[in-house]
């Protein structure tokens, strides 16, 4: 019968393809590369991997990618099954956990041989160190950043947010922005009272750390009460969105109140400008987080937006390190990757790609250059449980926002809960 004929032929074809694929896989050293990100990143990453296999015919690279939301679950599951991909994209918030539990390969002995870190500044290298050893290599430099609707700011006659705008100034200006808008359902700022990075910058402006070098929560109950009170005041004067609007913001590009057109100002990361601009009609710009009165420095810091790490379980250590080195230090790879993951840490790569950058990418580069003189050093690493503290912060800010607790009560409750979470690990 005709249908069976077709089915059989298709089956034969598939089998042949499978055999061919297996033959190829057997001939080559197969490396698995795993990253999070969107379509744009997947395209750039796959092209870069293809370029590498062209010049290294004995290597086959199998790319795997998922969104940030599922990334860590899947990586942890693979790690549990001793089946971690050889080269993985890594985040500053997770590298300590993976490195200290023996999940990652220490890279120090490869530097200068398989791993080319020439032209990397100290900040970029230090960002990938855990307990003095290198476990991750920067794929791009970024910092926290306000992303705001510059076009509306200009149209409304509001002054752009040029450093330094103190937290007090910021409140006044955002309230003025809401008034100037004269529109129902649109406010000046996002409610960033539940944002970990915003809190961290605010605390560091006060001379505190979110986490001390000993891995304890670094702020007092009074600090936290002040923080919650600041945002309560922001809501009271109409400077930021009300709690029921903020509650729908999942802290990502697509659901942020900035993208939804409910606020002009969002708290984000500098490398996300490209992502935000893609889904916002108005022209966006970057600005530093607000400054602390009397402190000439910002609590912000430059950090690797993401890194590459090697699984401790990889069977091809040298080859995996070579592939990693290609991604971070090769100029041809740099041209393909662009600044989509942040500004490349390698000076050589930066110089080669500079002429080809578009307006958004140029703005990201100039932002990083602008803030360099006023940023602070990298903070101590976050302890285990830091991720859960972020959820706690979000929830506690909501508690104050919906008037279920006063800022003072929320401050002491938060400190108690955060301490409990961290001690539990």
């Amino acid at each position: 019968m005709g249908t069976i004929e077709i089915g059989r032929r298709a089956l034969l074809g598939t089998t042949a393809a499978l055999i061919a694929a297996r033959a190829q896989a057997q001939a080559a050293t197969r490396l698995r590369l795993y990253w999070w990100g969107g379509v744009e990143r997947a395209e750039r990453t796959n092209k870069t991997a293809e370029l590498y296999t062209k010049t290294h015919p004995s290597i086959a690279v199998a790319g795997e990618t998922v969104g940030w939301g599922d990334y860590w679950t899947r990586l942890a599951t693979q790690a549990a099954g001793r089946n971690m991909p050889d080269v993985v994209q890594m985040d500053y918030g997770y590298i300590f956990e993976y490195a200290r539990r023996g999940g990652l390969l220490a890279l120090d002995s490869y530097v200068g041989k398989e791993l080319d870190l020439s032209g990397f500044d100290a900040a970029s290298i230090d960002g990938g160190k855990v307990d003095g050893k290198i476990y991750g290599v920067s794929l791009g430099l970024n910092s926290t950043s306000i992303v705001y609707d510059r076009e509306s700011f200009d149209a409304l006659g509001l002054a752009p947010l040029a450093w330094p705008v103190t937290w007090e100034d910021f409140a006044t200006r955002m309230a003025a922005a809401t008034k100037a808008l004269k529109k129902d359902g649109v406010w000046g700022s996002t409610d960033a009272g539940g944002s970990g990075p915003a809190l961290e910058v605010w605390l560091r402006g006060r001379g505190k750390e979110m986490y001390t070098a000993e891995g304890k929560f670094g702020a007092s109950a009074a600090d936290m009460a002040d923080w919650f009170a600041y945002w309560a005041e922001m809501r009271a004067i109409g400077a930021c969105v009300p709690p029921e609007v903020q509650a729908l913001d999942k802290l990502d590009v697509d659901t942020s109140v900035l993208t939804l057109g409910k606020a002009l100002v969002g708290f984000a990361n500098s490398n996300q400008l490209v992502g935000y601009q893609a889904v916002n009609k108005k022209k966006l710009d970057l600005a530093m987080y607000p400054a602390t009165k009397g402190n000439p420095k910002s609590g912000q810091y430059l950090k690797p937006s993401q890194m590459l790490s090697i699984a401790a379980t990889t069977r091809n250590k040298e080859e995996a390190v070579k592939l990693m080195s290609f991604f971070i230090a090769d100029t041809e790879a740099g041209k393909l990757l662009g600044v989509e993951r942040g500004i490349p840490a390698s000076k050589k790569v930066r110089e080669v790609i500079a002429p080809s950058l578009d307006a958004m990418a140029t703005r990201m580069s100039s932002y990083i250059a602008e803030i360099a003189p006023v940023v602070s050093p990298l903070p101590p690493p976050p302890p285990k449980g830091a991720g859960e503290v972020l959820t706690l912060l979000l929830r506690t800010n909501e508690t104050v926002g919906f008037k279920k607790a006063t800022p003072a009560a929320a401050g002491s409750q938060f400190l108690k809960d955060a301490t409990d979470i961290i001690s539990r690990g």
């Binding site: 549990a80 029921e244 509650a247």
Partner: protein, 298 residues
Amino acid sequence: MAGRPTARRRGIPAGYIFLLPWFLGFFGLTLGPALASLALSFTNYDLIGTPGWVGLANYVRILTADSKVAESVRVTLLYVALSVPFKLGFALAIAMILNRGIAGLPLYRALFYLPSLLGASVAIATLWRTVFSGDGLLNKVLLQFGIHGPSWVSDPDTAIYTLVALSVWQFGSPMIIFLAGLRQLPRDIYEAASLDGATPWYQFWRITTPLLTPVIFFNLVVQTIDAFKAFTPAFIISGGTGGPINATLFYTLYLYQEAFGYLRMGYAAALAWLLVIAIAGVTALAFLSARRWVHYEA
């Protein structure tokens, strides 16, 4: 083939071979992992490191020291207590209407069943989030009547009720079962009752309800277990946080957060086993109470 004894005997090993996929699935994918999770619930397993034995520590913490457990149990019980009766009531009411022999019954039946098919899906939860948000469909309709509605899904005082409404809307499967039950009720009893002058309301309470108790009981048990296990709607509507302020933090959602958010697999396994025990307990209670109110013989 089945008629001849030899063939039948030969068929026995074949039968087991046909059952093999199910056995493999049951032992490999259900029973095995379930027992493994029981063992893990006594450890501090975190997916990456090797599990270390902690004895009853997980259970002790859950039962005595974890305030989020108390919160999530409260949210879950509220959800079960509201969604199950409303859903069953609604399903029965629609089934009674459909049972009156209206034209186009198969069409209506299919239409009413549709939400149940879509119900557990991510798309519907996302739709729900949009309908009940501040400038969502519901508030736009309310505005026509001059009512300014709140942002239902993101207000901690109302968020749980949007989830209850979502559950009630998926009344299709109990409705179909009720409808089948109603179809089997003997007509002559109603005729006799009508002749004796019983009002429809009286007939409903004195004839329909008692005769239908086995079906009600079945639906009650199934829906209660389902409600305890509800996860997807809360996960999607709150973006996985159980927010605002833990107002939609179902027990299952908290379990998920502990397991996949914070990698406390041992602790989450203990949470899961307590849920199993709780559901078994509630079901056992339902069966005990059934002796008092379920009538199996007309």
